[in-house]
Symmetry: C2
Subunit: 340 residues, 2 copies
C-alpha cells in the first residue's frame, strides 16, 4: 500500500511503495497496441472512434488506469501524524494516455488533428479529476526515451497524476507567481511573454494563440516553454480551435528538437492551475497571477549530483543559441511551421 | 564566459556556459593519477605527504582547480538587471578533490585514516573559501558511477563549489530549519535525531559522534543521511578525532550500500552552514537552527519526468526496509562496523 510522507524540514512529499526490486512487466504483446485492449486495466475514456464499445480496437487515443499506480482514487484521504512526522494515505489518481494505436509512432509523427485529440484527452481528464475536492493538483507529463526515465513500453504515451497535496515544484511556481503579482499587480508569465516577444532572441516559434520560447534561465540544453499568448490560468479551459493551434505548434517544436538533437530523450510537463475547490479561500489571486504553460526538457545530458543536491543547474547551451538553432534548423521554412 | 541567471518566477539560479557540444577530455593518461600531476591545473593543496614540493607525486589527497570550472574566483561579483531579468557574473570556485593517487580505488576501499584525510581536505577548503565574503555557500558533492552523472575520469574524486548565491536546495533546508526553530525553538535535525534514535527502525548505524539513518521521507531507494549527534552548524569545525570517527562510519555505510546494491551509483552531498559574513545580519538564528549533514543518494533507478517536474518523488523502497537491509547485510557483525 502506498503512503505519502512529508520531509519535516523542506516540506517535500514522497510517495512510498514497497515494490523493490521492481518486477519487470511480462514480456509479450504491448498492452498499448490496438487489439490488446484486454491487457490494460479497464478503459477510462477513448477518443477518435464512434459507435465503438469500450476496451475494443478502433480508438485513436485511449486513457486507462496505470497497472501499478503510485496513487489510488479509492483510498480515503487521511492526513495523520506519525510520531513527530506528517503522513497521508496514497489518495489520488494515476492514469495513462495511450497517444496512438500504432506501436512505432512518436507523438511528433502524429497528424496535427491526432495530437489535438491527445490534448483533448489531457483537458478532459484534468476537468474530471478536478471535480474531486480531495485532488489538489493534476499533473500531466510525458517521458520519451530511456534517458528521460521512460520505464513503460516505448509505445507513445503520457501520464496523468492527481495529487492530494501540492507538489513542491508547482508550489514554487505558484508562490513565485503570487509574490510577483503582489508586488507588481501583473502576471509574471505575461511579463515574460511581452519581454520575449519584444526581444525576440529567445523566441523559437509563435502561432495564433501560443508562443514557444527558450527560457532566460534554462536549466537544461534546449529547454523550451510553450505559453498561451492570452492570460489563462487553466489549460483545460482551452477551446478546440486553440487546441488544434497548440497541437500544430507542439508538433513543430518536437520536430525542431528532433532535427537539432537527433531524436533526443525529453520530459514534457504541463503546469495547469491547481484545484481551487480543494482549498477554499487559499488561492485568492490565482486567476490573475497564474498562467498555464508546458515545459519541454530535452535530456541530452545526465542530471548530475550538483543539480540534484543544490537545485542549482549548470547549462552548457545558452537559450539564445538554443532558440536560434531550433528556429533556423534545416528546412523549417520549406516544411512550414505548424503545418501537420 | 559563464554567467548566472535567475528564473523570474521560482528564483532558481542557473549557470550558463556556451560549451555545447561538450568536448570529451583527451584520451590518454588519467590526470588524477600519481605521476601525472602536470596534467591538472596547479595544485591548491595536498595532504598525506611531508617535505614534498607542489605538483609532484607523494600525496594521498590532492586538491586542484577544475579544468573547466563552472565558476571562477577571479570574476568580479556583479549582480545586474538584464532588461526584466536578474543576472550575475560567474564568480565562485570549482575545485576537485582527488581522493587517492591510485586509479582503481573507490572511496569505500580506502583506509579509515585515508578517508579522514579526504574529509580534512573538504573542511580545509570550505574554511578557506568562506574567507571570501563574496562566497555565500560552499557545497561538497561526489558522483560515483555513470547513472549518478559522473563525467570526469572514474578515478575517485569529489568536487567543491563555492557559490555567490544560496542554491535553491540549500535555501529550502535553511528556510525549513529556520521556520521549525521559530515555532518550536528547537533544531529540526536534533528533533529528527532524537526521534530516530528512540524509534530505531530507520537507524542504519551509529558511532561515537555520528548517526546514519534512512530518512522518514526518503526520495530515493536506500537514501542515507549522516548527522553529528551533537548540534553543530558547520562541518568544517569538526575536530580531528571526530573526523576519524566520521571516516569510519562513512566507509562502513558505503560498504553496506555496495554489499546491498552491488556497487551502486550514488551522489553524496555535504550540507554545511552558509557563509554568515557574506550576508551580515541575515542568518541570525542559524547557529541554533541549522545542523550540518551528509546525504547519500544511491541511484539504482533513473529520476523520471514526474520527479523532475513536480519535486514529488515516488520511492519503491520504504526507509524502514532500507535501514533493515543495510543494517543486517552479510557479515557486518563479523567485520565490525566502523573498523577501517
Amino acid at each position: 500500500m502506498s503512503a505519502l510522507r512529508k520531509d519535516p524540514c523542506t516540506g517535500r512529499w514522497v510517495v512510498l511503495e514497497d515494490l523493490w526490486p521492481v518486477r519487470p512487466l511480462e514480456p509479450g504483446a504491448c498492452p498499448f497496441c490496438a487489439g490488446n485492449e484486454s491487457l490494460t486495466p479497464p478503459e477510462i475514456a477513448a477518443w477518435g472512434s464512434t459507435g465503438r464499445g469500450p476496451n475494443l480496437a478502433g480508438w485513436k487515443v485511449r486513457v486507462v488506469a496505470n497497472l501499478r499506480p503510485a496513487l489510488r482514487i479509492e483510498e480515503p484521504l487521511a492526513r495523520r501524524a506519525e510520531r513527530m512526522y506528517d503522513a497521508a494515505c496514497g489518495t489520488g489518481a494515476h492514469e495513462i494516455v495511450i497517444e496512438t494505436p500504432e506501436h512505432e509512432d512518436r507523438l511528433s509523427q502524429l497528424s496535427r488533428e491526432h495530437i489535438a485529440l491527445v490534448l483533448s484527452a489531457w483537458a478532459a481528464r484534468i476537468t474530471d479529476l478536478k471535480r474531486d475536492r480531495r485532488i489538489r493538483a493534476v499533473f500531466v507529463f510525458k517521458n520519451q526515451g530511456v534517458m528521460a526515465g521512460a520505464a513503460l513500453p516505448s509505445h507513445a504515451h503520457s501520464q496523468i497524476i492527481g495529487l492530494p497535496v501540492t507538489p513542491k515544484a508547482l508550489k514554487e511556481i505558484l508562490d513565485g507567481a503570487r509574490t510577483h503579482f503582489r508586488i507588481k499587480e501583473r502576471c509574471v508569465f505575461c511579463d515574460i511573454l511581452r519581454e520575449e516577444l519584444e526581444d525576440g532572441r529567445r523566441v523559437i516559434e509563435t502561432s495564433e494563440h501560443f508562443a514557444a520560447i527558450a527560457p532566460f534561465a534554462s536549466r537544461h540544453p534546449f529547454e523550451c516553454c510553450i505559453l498561451p499568448r492570452e492570460h489563462t490560468p487553466d489549460f483545460e479551459t482551452t477551446g478546440s480551435d486553440a487546441l488544434l493551434d497548440l497541437a500544430g505548434l507542439l508538433k513543430s517544436l518536437l520536430r525542431r528538437l528532433e532535427s537539432t538533437l537527433a531524436e533526443p530523450a525529453f520530459n514534457l510537463f504541463l503546469y495547469s492551475g491547481p484545484n481551487r475547490d480543494s482549498r477554499p479561500g487559499y488561492w485568492t489571486t490565482l486567476d490573475q497571477d497564474f498562467h498555464w504553460h508546458i515545459a519541454v526538457l530535452p535530456r541530452p545530458t545526465q542530471v548530475a549530483g550538483f543539480e540534484v543536491g543544490t537545485g542549482f543547474y549548470s547549462n552548457p547551451v545558452s537559450p539564445e543559441r538554443a532558440a536560434a538553432e531550433l528556429r533556423n534548423g534545416p528546412d523549417w521554412t520549406a516544411q512550414g511551421a505548424g503545418a501537420s
